[in-house]
């Protein structure tokens, strides 16, 4: 995937330039090389130390907690082995929450990618005020989650919301958007609202598509749709794949259901409607409403492993479909 591609790009100037030029020039090489090596670790140490202390250590701590009944208050917590995991396996609330999170990811991510790609194609055309349209369409993606949550709560308010205003204007009945079963649609719409993000990233990709390819296709008499499907989409596929993976990971972790709930605090987690009770919300309730740090840590680790597996599967199944444009010029 991208990782190899990026690192190979990284090494390119070094392997071609260094090998030819710097080696013979600098003979007192050994100490120079040692200095370079030491410097590398001095420079990367903030990240390495930070990663160990602020990512690996907490994950390890969570793993340890997941084998205990720790709740942060009671002093007589104890080791329960796989007890929490066993409980989790038999907990239908957990499975329902996981299913809901998965469904939400599977629906919202492709939709927002399609929307973002569509917008990118739209604003990539030679139109007037193109920059203005791009900026305005991207703007919602910059709005912080709290702002987005409050905005959507107001738009979809039962009484004073614009959504019900429009429905009643056209003669339909008003709907309780923020309650079951409609809350899930509002949740998906908050994701779509930020599709400008994907638009900008796809736009960069679209502009990288060589003009000659489009011209050649047009000469061959390909329709616009055909060109889009056979040239644009394959060339964008690494970008889209990356967006799919990061989008899935983001959507599984989202706390938007909490922000859309009537009471948007950890204490108000109980007010999250059933249809938005995703896995992450479940984890938060276990942590904060019930203080079950041990069980919640087990939930987190299960989610972590599932995300790893899902990411691996996505890369595996797309390896034949995703097209990497290896620049022949650069390979030399």
């Amino acid at each position: 995937m991208s990782v190899d591609q990026i690192s190979s790009v990284a090494d390119r100037p070094r392997s071609s330039a260094d090998a030819g030029r710097t080696r013979p020039a600098r003979r007192p090489g050994a100490s120079m090389t040692a200095r370079r090596h030491r410097a590398f670790y001095v420079f990367t140490s903030p990240w390495i130390i930070g990663f160990l202390l602020l990512t690996i250590a907490p994950m390890g701590y969570a793993l340890w907690l997941s084998f205990t009944t720790f709740d942060g208050i009671s002093p007589n917590w104890h080791y329960v082995g796989l007890g929490n995991y066993r409980e989790l396996m038999n907990d239908s609330v957990t499975w329902d929450a996981l299913g809901r999170a998965g469904l939400f990811a599977v629906i919202s991510v492709p939709l927002s990618i399609i929307a973002g790609l569509g917008l990118a194609v739209l604003v990539n055309r030679p139109i007037r005020a193109r920059g203005v349209f791009r900026t305005l369409l991207y703007l919602p993606a910059v709005v912080p989650p709290v702002g987005a949550g409050i905005a959507f709560k107001n738009v979809f308010d039962q009484n004073s919301g614009a959504a019900n205003g429009a429905l009643t204007f056209f003669g339909f009945d008003a709907v309780g958007w923020l309650a079951d079963p409609y809350a899930r649609y509002v949740l998906v719409m908050t994701v779509l609202w930020a599709a400008g993000n994907i638009m900008i990233i796809s736009l960069a990709g679209l502009q990288d598509v060589p003009r000659e390819l489009h011209e050649a296709a047009r000469i061959d008499g390909a329709s616009a749709w055909r060109t889009f499907r056979s040239i644009t989409v394959p060339l964008l596929s690494p970008v889209l794949l990356f967006q799919t993976v990061t989008g899935m990971i983001a959507s599984v972790q989202t706390i938007m259901p909490m922000l859309l709930a009537p009471l948007s605090t950890p204490a108000g987690l109980t007010t999250v409607p059933q249809s938005n009770y995703t896995y992450m919300i479940h984890v938060f309730s276990q942590y904060f409403a019930l203080g079950r740090y041990g069980y919640a840590s087990a939930l987190l680790w299960v989610l972590f492993v599932l995300i790893l597996i899902a990411t691996g599967l996505i890369f595996k199944f797309t390896s034949g479909v995703v097209f990497y444009n290896v620049d022949p010029e650069a390979k030399k």
Partner: protein, 287 residues
């Protein structure tokens, strides 16, 4: 354009015009939909409480209640919370920008056994679910007595952010080699090379990184919610949680007004720094 005389079917030009019309209509409608929620937030912030309770929706306020903004500002210690946000976001953004540039320089310009593996881990860690590490991190910070202090943001800042490291690495890797070779011959250390030669070259990336990190922190809800008490917390938490009447119901119009005031700085920063912001966004999309 003059080809119409050769072309037996004039509809071509008409068709192009109709296409354009459709295109612009779609664009305007979609843009309207995208701006709608924010527009509605502003309108809600300008309405009186009874207008929000009335059953048929009041599309526009009867009279624009501009004082809602002043009321929202006075009801809570708005300025105090904004100052907290500003302090936290600035601390984090300055530190993380410098540390990420520092680490990025290492990955772009230096070499050592294990570099490839480390870089792979760095890129992989961009995909780590942050919410999963945040909850146990919170427990650790609580144990270390760092709850209700700004230390967590200092530590997060010092430890650099993979995404920004990548941004800097890409930029530094593109600068010509000659830049440091002369300095090395002159006996400069790498720290000096970084500080004197590379940093001054990288204003565009430095500012993009600062803006990105600042908006992250300004927009963050969960970390301050978990780590800070009610008076030390940030504006995002305050806006979300403090506009509640004594009866326990949200004060929707004041909250809407407050969230407009909370969001606008970010929109302004974005509009001013758009170029760097978007450049940062699109390089992140893998290049």
């Amino acid at each position: 354009m003059t080809a119409t005389s050769l072309n037996p079917k004039p509809p071509l030009r008409v068709r192009i015009r109709v296409n354009r019309l459709v295109l612009y209509t779609v664009l305007v409608v979609v843009t309207g939909l995208f701006l709608g929620p924010f527009g509605w937030l502003v309108l809600t912030g300008l309405k009186a409480p009874d207008e929000l309770a009335a059953a048929p929706v009041h599309w526009l306020p009867d009279t624009f209640q501009w004082h809602n903004f002043a009321d929202a500002y006075q009801l809570i210690d708005f300025l105090g919370y904004a100052r907290n946000s500003l302090i936290i976001a600035s601390i984090y953004a300055v530190l993380v920008t410098l540390s990420s540039a520092w680490v990025g320089f290492g990955f772009a310009r230096l070499d050592a056994p294990g570099k490839k593996t480390l870089f792979g881990i760095l890129l992989g860690s961009m995909m780590l679910p942050q919410m999963i590490t945040l909850l146990p991190t919170y427990l650790i910070f609580a144990k270390l007595g760092m709850v209700d202090t700004y230390w967590p943001w200092v530590l997060w800042g010092l430890s650099s952010a993979p995404y920004l490291v990548f941004l800097f690495r890409q930029f530094f890797a593109g600068l010509p080699r000659e830049l440091e070779e002369a300095a090395i011959v002159d006996g400069c250390g790498y720290a000096q090379i970084f500080w004197r030669i590379f940093l001054p070259q990288s204003w565009p990336v430095l500012s993009a990184s600062f803006v990105i990190a600042f908006t992250w922190t300004w927009g963050d809800y969960i970390a301050p919610q978990l780590l800070l008490s009610t008076d030390k917390t940030t504006l995002s938490v305050a806006v979300m949680t403090t506009y509640i009447s004594s009866a326990g119901t949200p004060i929707a119009n004041l909250q809407a007004a407050a969230s407009v005031m909370y969001v606008i700085p970010i929109l302004l920063i974005f509009l001013v720094a758009q170029r760097g912001f978007v450049a940062g966004m699109s390089t992140s999309g893998l290049k």
